[in-house]
């Protein structure tokens, strides 16, 4: 599904990713944990092709294709989805317009017809319900005036609409209380599928109680310094990141 080889990336001329390797197979959930400043968010931004994130070395193959050569929108249409840590508010652009444009873009990329508006509305309402968002949100501006938890649920709702192959959750748990966290986790778990993979980026182990990963990686100073099973997360929770960073150095 996704193979990252020796990835190096700069942000504003500062070297953030320093030789990152990762291999994600279909259906797998990988958690990436690490201390602040390790490059966790940079990874998501680099993979989705954000301006200002410059790849200086390495390869990323997504479903057999060279990911790094694609524009941001092309990556999305190929099935890459980034759930943002801080989803942006866009007043004046309604959630419905935005979602329809997204869904149609992916469908047309696959050679399908744009979705019928009535069928689309039905689906959108269904998914709204699934993440416990008031249907009113659909006609409001994208994330406009949403609370932190509502924004995160909106991300998961978009994910459900777009049915991507690979979802990167960038600190989706940050700023969520337990109730909201459970809703988000349920949404993610409902999307688990033998053909869909997840990269869950988080600072805290708590999220992994709800979204149980197959692998846990520790990202420190731009590299994966340790990998293990889900029990590694518990060990990190107990001991902190210090022992690994020191070990790596």
């Amino acid at each position: 599904m996704l193979t990252i080889k020796n990835l190096h990336a700069n942000v504003e001329d500062k070297n953030i990713l320093k030789g990152l390797n990762l291999d994600v197979k279909p259906g797998e959930i990988h958690a990436i944990m690490g201390p602040n400043g390790a490059g966790k968010s940079t990874l998501g931004n680099v993979l989705s092709g954000r301006e200002g994130y410059e790849v200086t070395g390495g390869d990323v193959t997504f479903d057999g294709k060279n990911l790094l050569e694609m524009e941001t929108e092309e990556r999305a249409r190929e099935g890459l989805f980034l759930a943002f840590q801080y989803p942006v508010e866009i007043p004046g652009v309604s959630n419905l317009e935005f979602l329809k444009a997204s869904v149609d873009a992916a469908r047309e990329h696959r050679g399908e017809e744009p979705m019928d508006s009535v069928a689309f509305l039905k689906l959108a309402r269904e998914k709204c319900k699934a993440v416990n968002l008031d249907q009113n949100f659909l006609k409001r501006g994208v994330n406009e005036g949403f609370s932190g938890g509502e924004k995160k649920r909106n991300e998961i709702m978009q994910m459900m609409m777009l049915e991507p192959k690979l979802c990167i959750l960038d600190e989706t748990d940050s700023g969520l209380d337990i109730d909201a966290l459970q809703v988000v986790a349920e949404g993610v778990n409902s999307q688990r599928d033998p053909n869909r993979s997840f990269i869950v980026v988080t600072h805290y182990q708590r999220l992994l109680d709800y979204i149980v990963p197959d692998y846990v990686h520790v990202l420190a100073d731009g590299k994966i310094v340790k990998s293990g099973g889900k029990e590694l997360a518990l060990e990190l929770e107990e001991k902190g990141y210090g022992w690994i960073e020191n070990g790596a150095a």
Binding site: A76, I90, G92, F120, Q135
Partner: protein
């Protein structure tokens, strides 16, 4: 050298204007308005022709005005399918249509004269009591000293339009006042006038709509409107400047608000060769409310210049003024908004916001919100912003598969969408949405999602249900 030549030309402009005015005075259909014309012309003559050093005209060039323009428009015209230029499906409006400044009965609604409580009449046809109304109000609100073209308009008033609504009458159907401009055999000028008088507790919705055939226009158009809104009366107003980009318009809206009266106004201006609009609102008596929402969208090398003046002369009045502009390509806009709180205007609440979006490095906006406060117990705020498209928002849309182009159009449209959505006349909003979206692109594939009626309609129905 060229400066000297220009100076001569401008002088000729004024000379021609004065000669047209004296011609109007001699052959007028409304001899009883001779005083108004004389006064207007005298003011015009007193006022120096603006240069780049004139503060109120600093950023708007008048080079496009020429002395050649002072011909009367040719009266024979035939515009194929004229209704399509202004028709708004589902609006059910009472239409009053002028073509190149002349009333056109064929295109206007036949039932204009039969709506009870509403009187719509041309000055030349006014009866004695209507003449009295006109003489009482005409050119009083418009304070001609503020703008020489308003003074000139007063000097050239011949056959304007009077609209009155009787006491306590609420007119359900909107009145749609349409001005169509077409290309002229010779450069021409049209000076049009509208006077609206709402008596106590009356209510009217008035749409002033300016359209043109898609030929190149060679007319200077000046339409000046005065609204006298009586005690507890309300005017719902729309001023839509949708003419071709070759248009020249120097017009204005002048409003007198009396006790507890309301003026709610939506203004929209596409760009032109010269497009200058002055809006003056006088809060004359306590308790009046003014709400104005404006949008300007120049592109190519067009320009738009909005000057607004809100005069708070009485206590307990409120103003909420929001203007937004999007400047594309090499276009240029001016927004100058002034709120003036006079010493007696205690307990005033006034807000002015002007936000601008520049879509190109060569586009220009000159914004100047001004507050002048002489009362000590008021709450006022003003602010202006100038920005480019938000890169974070664009990335967010792109990260969901939306192309960069479509993302930029959605964001641009989103910038003004809020003001459009605030319009109470749904039929008009539905007409304007595609028209405005087309300002950003002619590629329908890029606007189809924001124009998807099923989504807009259902989304709203859903909201009600929830």
């Amino acid at each position: 050298m060229s400066n000297v030549a220009k100076a001569v030309e401008l002088h000729e402009f004024s000379e021609q204007a004065v000669s047209l005015a004296s011609n109007t005075q001699q052959n007028s259909k409304t001899p009883w308005l001779a005083d108004v014309r004389e006064k207007g012309l005298a003011t015009f003559k007193r006022m120096p022709f603006p240069t780049r050093k004139t503060e109120a005209w600093k950023y708007t060039s008048l080079r496009a005005l020429s002395a050649e323009n002072f011909h009367r428009p040719a009266q024979q015209f035939s515009i194929a399918n004229a209704e399509a230029l202004f028709e708004v499906e589902g609006l059910e409006a009472l239409r009053v249509v002028f073509v190149n400044g002349e009333f056109n009965a064929e295109l206007s609604s036949p039932e204009l004269l039969s709506t009870s409580g509403l009187n719509i009449i041309q000055f030349a046809d006014a009866n004695e009591s209507q003449q009295k109304t006109i003489k009482t109000h005409l050119a009083n609100v418009s304070e001609t000293e503020r703008n020489l073209f308003t003074a000139l308009n007063a000097g050239l008033i011949d056959n304007g339009l009077l609209i009155t609504v009787d006491k306590k009458v609420r007119i359900e159907r909107p009145v749609q006042l349409v001005h169509i401009s077409s290309q002229q055999p010779e450069n021409a000028s049209v000076f049009a006038r509208c006077l609206v008088v709402l008596e106590q507790q009356a209510e009217l919705t008035l749409i002033e709509q300016f359209v043109s055939t898609h030929e190149t226009l060679n007319t200077i158009f000046n339409q000046t409107s005065e609204f006298i809104i009586g005690d507890a009366a309300k005017l719902n107003h729309y001023r839509l400047h949708l003419e071709d980009e070759s248009s020249i318009h120097l017009g204005g809206v002048y409003v007198d608000l009396n006790r507890d009266s309301q003026f709610e106004s939506y203004q929209l201006a596409l760009g032109g060769k010269v497009k200058r609009l002055d809006v003056l609102v006088n809060h004359n008596q306590p308790g009046s409310h003014c709400e104005m929402k404006g949008v300007y969208l120049p592109k190519h090398e067009q320009q738009v210049d909005f000057h607004t003046y809100i005069e708070h002369k009485a206590a307990h009045c409120t103003t909420d003024e929001v203007y937004r502009g999007i400047m594309a390509d090499k276009s240029k806009a001016v927004f100058n908004g002034r709120i003036h709180i006079h010493p007696d205007a205690q307990k005033t609440l006034a807000e002015l916001s002007n936000k601008n979006l520049l879509l190109s490095n060569q586009a220009e906006i000159n914004t100047k919100p001004e507050l002048e406060i002489y009362a000590d117990d008021v709450r006022c705020a003003h602010g202006a912003t100038v920005a480019q498209l938000d890169a974070k928002a664009r990335f967010y849309l792109q990260s969901r598969g939306i192309s960069r182009q479509e993302a930029e159009i959605m964001l641009s449209f989103g910038f003004i969408n809020e003001l459009l959505d605030a319009m109470p006349l749904v039929a008009l909003r539905d007409k304007l949405r595609p028209l405005l979206a087309q300002q950003f692109t002619s590629n329908a594939a890029l606007t189809r999602h924001l124009l998807d009626k099923a989504l807009a309609g259902e989304g709203q129905a859903q909201g009600v249900e929830a």
